[in-house]
Assembly symmetry: C4
Homo-oligomer: 247 residues x 4
């Protein structure tokens, strides 16, 4: 039996969408968060272009994980980025939520088409290594299913570079903006917030030292493992995101 009722699922996704606004990562309608229910094989996602002031839990749209189409009787149209979400859920099988924003600093790195180097422990606490930059799509890929191909490019990048999406819970899309994710929808929102902060820190770091160097590997591993490894000791017992292995 699924863990949550449909109403609880919608409520959770609604709250996660509002959390991005509250955290200052979203202006106007520029963001969308979804959660997956792998047992029911559906995702619950924000409707497209809806004003946060009037947005209600029942407006959350249910979409089939198999067909990528909205289920019958949905009152609103799902986010135009839905095919990206669906493709990510079908390929990153351990993630439970996805958050897409145009948050200012992360989007600036995306527009600059640069990965974010791991300049310190704030970064290393959540992202094991650089935040990747995913290549721009070809005109053909843009024409033939732009949003789905955005997901395809992300997956291709992670497979080619052997990155585990729970150790690198986000990426930047060239000329576009960040996508972030996590084991749960709450973790996805947290990844988006951290990605934005890490982007701001890295921008400043390079202004302060033109020749800034990434943090030493030993420090990166220490910080990542004290939060995420089998011997993690940050936080209170039982509250940690459990990850299987460190690549």
């Amino acid at each position: 039996m699924p863990e949550l009722s449909i109403e609880e699922l919608k409520q959770k996704v609604w709250l996660a969408n509002l959390a991005l606004v509250k955290a200052g990562l979203v202006i106007l309608t520029w963001g969308n968060v979804s959660a997956v229910d792998r047992e029911r094989r559906i995702i619950a996602i924000k409707p497209s272009g809806v004003d946060y002031d009037v947005f209600k839990p029942e407006d959350i749209v249910l979409v089939s994980l198999d067909s990528g189409q909205a289920l019958p009787r949905q009152t609103m149209r799902p986010s135009s980025d839905t095919p990206t979400h669906v493709h990510l859920y079908n390929n990153f099988i351990k993630i439970g939520g996805i958050a897409h924003t145009h948050s200012r600093n992360a989007t600036s790195w995306a527009q600059a088409c640069r990965e974010i180097p791991c300049y310190g422990t704030t970064h290393a606490d959540t992202f094991y290594g650089a935040v990747p930059i995913v290549r721009a799509l070809s005109p053909y890929e843009i024409e033939q299913g732009y949003e789905r191909n955005t997901g395809v490019a992300i997956i291709e990048h992670f497979r080619t570079k052997h990155l585990d999406p729970l150790h690198v819970p986000g990426a930047l899309l060239s000329y576009h903006a960040p996508f972030a994710w996590g084991a749960t929808v709450e973790k996805a929102v947290e990844s988006a917030i951290i990605l934005e902060e890490v982007a701001a820190l890295a921008l400043n770091t390079e202004r302060i030292a033109k020749d800034a160097k990434p943090a030493p590997q030993s420090l990166i591993e220490k910080h990542y493992l004290r939060k995420h490894g089998p011997a993690a000791y940050y936080g209170q017992p039982g509250e940690r995101v459990q990850v299987d292995k460190l690549i």
Copy 2:
């Protein structure tokens, strides 16, 4: 018969002016928003230099679209930028609202006398191509009707470059600040908010990559058209700004 009563029109323009303050685009009295009522041939505009704390809907000033003068029996003097608004309404015949601010990032680009390159999809979703920089006025133009000539220079720029004001809903005035507009006064406010954000992103983008390149044309077109073209699929049905053609 006009769509709105005079009271409703004033209320709408009053709310639009306050929305700019709430969005953080205006400090002190540095901004003004107007709407046009083309049937009555009037514009409704913020009074000049009035404190937002005491500003009421009935303070909105009505101005003739033909003479550019305040109608009889207005209690306050209209914004000193009124001649710019009037000239824009008389030449951009599809726009319904105009928003002028000194918002920090857009004003910085205006002071630097540079257009804002289209570095990514956040920009392309609203502005089809760069945000234009309008040339500085000559001493003679400044002396002989400064505010009206500001409008003249904007129109000249759009005509010379064959820009459609609904596809490029704003511009920067050299050494001054941005003007933004839209099909409605609400859209004008939205254009001003987006212009400010796009300006911030572009500034950061150039700091992260000195040789930043504008987004590929295929991506710009995809993003602009998914929101604005005849086959637009962003947002909910019936809510889109309808534009006639893409240049």
Copy 3:
């Protein structure tokens, strides 16, 4: 007879001090505002180092314009910058209020020991020309009455450069921070807010265009005069700061 009672004067200065905090120009206890009562020959100024949360109108300290000393029976010690205020009031005889902050952007220009060039109309609306940078004090001047000599250096700069303090209502102190002023204490607070914004805009402008040029003289004069000259037409009738002449 003086225009205000002592209680009204204290209330006004108290509100002006709080306005700086509300405008985001002051953190901790880093700021002080004063007003002068030229008939009574006193100034009313914020007490030194007092927490804004507990600060009350009756805590405002009265200081003699002649001796520079607190009047008898004041319950608190005046701001340590009091001698600067007193010296400015005794030499800028048309100013009615002074606001000193360590606001982020203006202080950064002060620390960089650079004047703020007039890059646009936002600046020209209030400051006629660059915001001046006042020279650093000598070790001897620091030792022999640091705060008074700060005022002496400001006055020296304005006299040498033939600047009128009502046309240039503020200055930056090398390695220190801004002082701003105006015809009234409310205008002084406004000058401080505008100086901070102008500093932020200029910093950004130079980042966007390394070779940024000051605004043309004709534009500077137009903007300054439409707000301040005898033929000013910005704002509502009777509300303008009246200044005598434009240098």
Copy 4:
């Protein structure tokens, strides 16, 4: 007899932790403040990774200053940075509180591995000279007690450079973030706020003037001494942090 009851101590530390969030220095769970009770030989510190929204005074964890271990019957696990705090209290014997944050600007300097030069009086009012950058730890030090060795490196730096922790109430850890402290836990929070502001100012100062110079020594000494020396005259009588000597 100790000055405060255990409940009062916990309340004070709880408030200090919330003050950092309110001041905008902490997002998510990224910060921790502690106070020491030297008579009871304990420290009171924030629990690890706990959400500020649900965090209560009774969640504050008591830790032995001698063993570095949590006292019996604590309900939560102390901050993972506890060994750093314990080592600092045992070596900086006059400090009463410690605040660790990942505040944006200070962390950027830490990631850039640069000390913050004393560019002006805002800095000199609190930090006598540059804010030091503490060397990165070796892989061995990271492996063998990372958090304790972080404290060891700070102490080593202050001893080698003959710095007094009450005159230089904070430091940056290479590739990591700032630690700040003070004679009381309230002063520690204040040091953290000032360090963040000073970091922001210095970053801007170098952008405005590539060849920015530290403030003259005479000015630094004047500002530091008017707040902290035996002849201090800033603030109200009896409220000053009393320090013994100026190095």
